[in-house]
């Protein structure tokens, strides 16, 4: 089983099916009046979380208190975290608040952006046959390809994402300062659900070196509160040089990887629907000569991440501004602190590879083609009974998905309200049977009169 970060809070779920309608992999069904996520189809993109009107879909994180289990707790911050705050909030203040909250050390994920770029470059030199090479940056994309585009898994570069490279860097750097591994706890501050899933069940690796995950929105609240508490009295040595280079800051935004890659032809595509439209074409060999693809599940990439606390365009703007300032300081001869990673560059590059990504197709009806063929014929026959309006009243997102569910999960055709009417006309179904079919999907209390 694969770990998923998204879970349904059943008591809170009102069974409105909005999540089911937006899920790009048709992973959600309604049963007994509650949404249900099918684990083998979920890519943790978080579209359902966005669509839920009552916050019944939550993102599981680790207990914040567990940072105190380690004498040396590390906050591994994505660049978008700093851009959640208004631009007049200084980085120094945010860092000071993080220390006050209990983190001993702060590392930024993007400090390894240049190592990640180099690892991809080296890989690309020897893998022209697998072009277009697809970046491993976005874990929702990696999972999407595994389940929906299994023929493209070999195009994914089997390289650790910046998050893992920076965690390795932090461990190594702290180790060099004499801090033993057992005393270090690495806490990744995640902007999205997919990255949590990637940490908890990594693709192409046995286990992750990250010790815990904290949701970006919850940390944002804690930091904000802390800053308010501190007022003007906080103590922190501001560092003189910028933390990240401009390239590193931009790397999480759309085009951030593409602008640095050497490919003659490449695309940067953000938004799941856009990505799927392109992969459909790619899978058919309809696009030729493309060397590199930067694919991101979220609109505006990580600026539009699920756990962002502000509008994606405002966050993107702050990131650009931060990058512009960093570039100016670099031009004035200041060396960004992320160059410290250069000491460990060779070590990181030597350990940057993971196993090839394996397909996990959700498309297949059966491993045995003979059986799959029979199932498909039954599905096609059942489809002829269905109205093709994709109303969702059967508890499946589309008529096609329902037809498949009938054959795979043995749910009954009477769940279709059109078919019910059809049977009623011929007097072949009782009122009780109709109600029972509705109740199976929508729960037992949905047909009651509203209370006064």
């Amino acid at each position: 089983m694969f770990h998923h970060a998204l879970e349904i809070n059943e008591p809170r779920c009102i069974g409105c099916a909005r999540c089911m309608k937006v899920c790009p992999t048709e992973a959600i069904r309604i049963r007994g009046g509650k949404a249900f996520i099918q684990g083998n189809r979920c890519i943790d993109c978080g579209k359902c979380h966005e669509a839920c009107p009552v916050d019944a879909i939550f993102i599981k994180q680790d207990d914040f208190q567990s940072i105190f289990d380690y004498p040396h707790s590390v906050a591994l911050l994505p660049a978008v975290f700093l851009s959640q705050f208004p631009s007049d909030m200084s980085v120094t203040r945010i860092y000071a608040a993080l220390k006050d909250l209990g983190f001993k050390h702060v590392f930024e994920v993007e400090s390894s952006a240049s190592v990640f770029a180099e690892a991809k470059g080296r890989y690309a030199e020897h893998h022209a046959d697998d072009e277009p090479l697809i970046s491993s940056f976005c874990p929702a994309i990696v999972r999407l390809i595994q389940i929906k585009y299994p023929s493209l898994v070999n195009n994914i570069m089997p390289i650790k994402a910046p998050l893992d490279l920076s965690a390795m860097y932090a461990l190594k750097a702290l180790g060099d300062r004499g801090i033993p591994r057992e005393e270090v706890g690495i806490f990744y501050v995640t902007p999205c659900a997919a990255k949590i899933a990637a940490v908890k069940s990594p693709v192409g690796e046995k286990r992750s070196i990250i010790d815990g995950v904290i949701n970006m929105d919850s940390l944002y609240n804690r930091v904000y509160k802390k800053i308010k508490e501190q007022g003007k009295s906080y103590s922190f040595q501001p560092s003189k040089s910028p933390n990240l280079s401009a390239d590193a800051i931009l790397s999480t935004l759309t085009n951030g990887e593409r602008r640095l890659c050497m490919a003659k032809r490449s695309y940067a595509i953000d938004g799941l629907q856009n990505v799927m439209d392109f992969l459909d074409k790619l899978e058919n060999d309809e696009v030729e000569g493309v060397e590199f693809l930067e694919l991101r599940a979220c609109d505006q990439s990580c600026a539009g991440a699920l756990l962002s606390c502000d509008n994606r365009f405002l966050i993107g703007e702050r990131m650009y501004n931060r990058a512009r300032k960093a570039a100016e300081r670099e031009r004035n001869g200041e060396v960004p602190r992320d160059r410290e990673i250069d000491k460990y560059r060779e070590y990181l590059l030597a350990n940057a590879n993971v196993d090839k990504v394996q397909p996990r197709s959700m498309m297949t009806l059966d491993k045995d083609r003979k059986v799959a063929f029979q199932k498909m014929e039954r599905i096609n026959r059942l489809k002829e009974f269905l109205p093709k309006v994709d109303c969702g009243l059967c508890g499946a997102p589309t008529c096609d998905a329902f037809a498949t569910d009938m054959v795979i999960n043995r749910v009954g055709l009477t769940r279709c309200v059109f078919y019910q009417r059809h049977l009623q006309q011929k007097n072949e179904i009782t009122r009780q049977e109709c109600l029972a079919a509705m109740n199976a999907v929508w729960g037992t209390d949905r047909m009651n009169d509203p209370k006064d």
Binding site: P150, N284, D285, M363, T364, L365, R369, F373, M376, E377
Partner: protein
């Protein structure tokens, strides 16, 4: 299992409709991805030819447990010399078709390369029928 699609002359926008739908079916049947790719590439080329060189037509697909049989039949000018048309690089594509990125004269050779059986029949002034078969294993 039988599927049918209609091809409309000059409708390049919808080129690939049949091959995309066939792709989805074959994925569900757990056909090896490299075989799926061969089927899709060959069918796509045949679809484009019916759109570009003829006046539209029909795609008839039959799938059974171990092979796929595809017929792309069009009403069109026909091919006077099939052996010549099969040669790599031979093309009579009009300039406006070339502007769309077609017309390298690689379509028919590509079909030949990707399928297990290819049969092209054509009558000048009447139309062309391309029949292809791919075994799943």
């Amino acid at each position: 299992m039988h599927q049918e699609y209609t091809i409309i002359e000059g409708d390049f926008v919808n080129a690939g409709k049949a091959s995309s739908s066939v792709k989805k079916t074959l994925k569900q049947l757990d056909v090896n991805p490299s075989v799926v790719k061969r089927v899709v590439v060959a069918l796509y080329e045949a679809e484009v030819n019916a759109i570009a060189h003829a006046y539209g037509g029909k795609v008839l697909v039959d799938i059974d447990e171990d092979k796929i049989h595809m017929v792309v039949a069009d009403k069109g000018p026909g091919i006077p010399d099939i052996a010549q048309a099969m040669q790599e690089g031979y093309s009579t594509a009009r300039p406006e078709v070339r502007d769309m990125g077609f017309g390298a004269g690689m379509g028919l050779p590509n079909m030949q390369k990707n399928v297990d059986k290819l049969d092209v029949k054509s009558t000048v002034g009447v139309g062309t029928t391309v029949e292809m078969e791919v075994n799943f294993s």
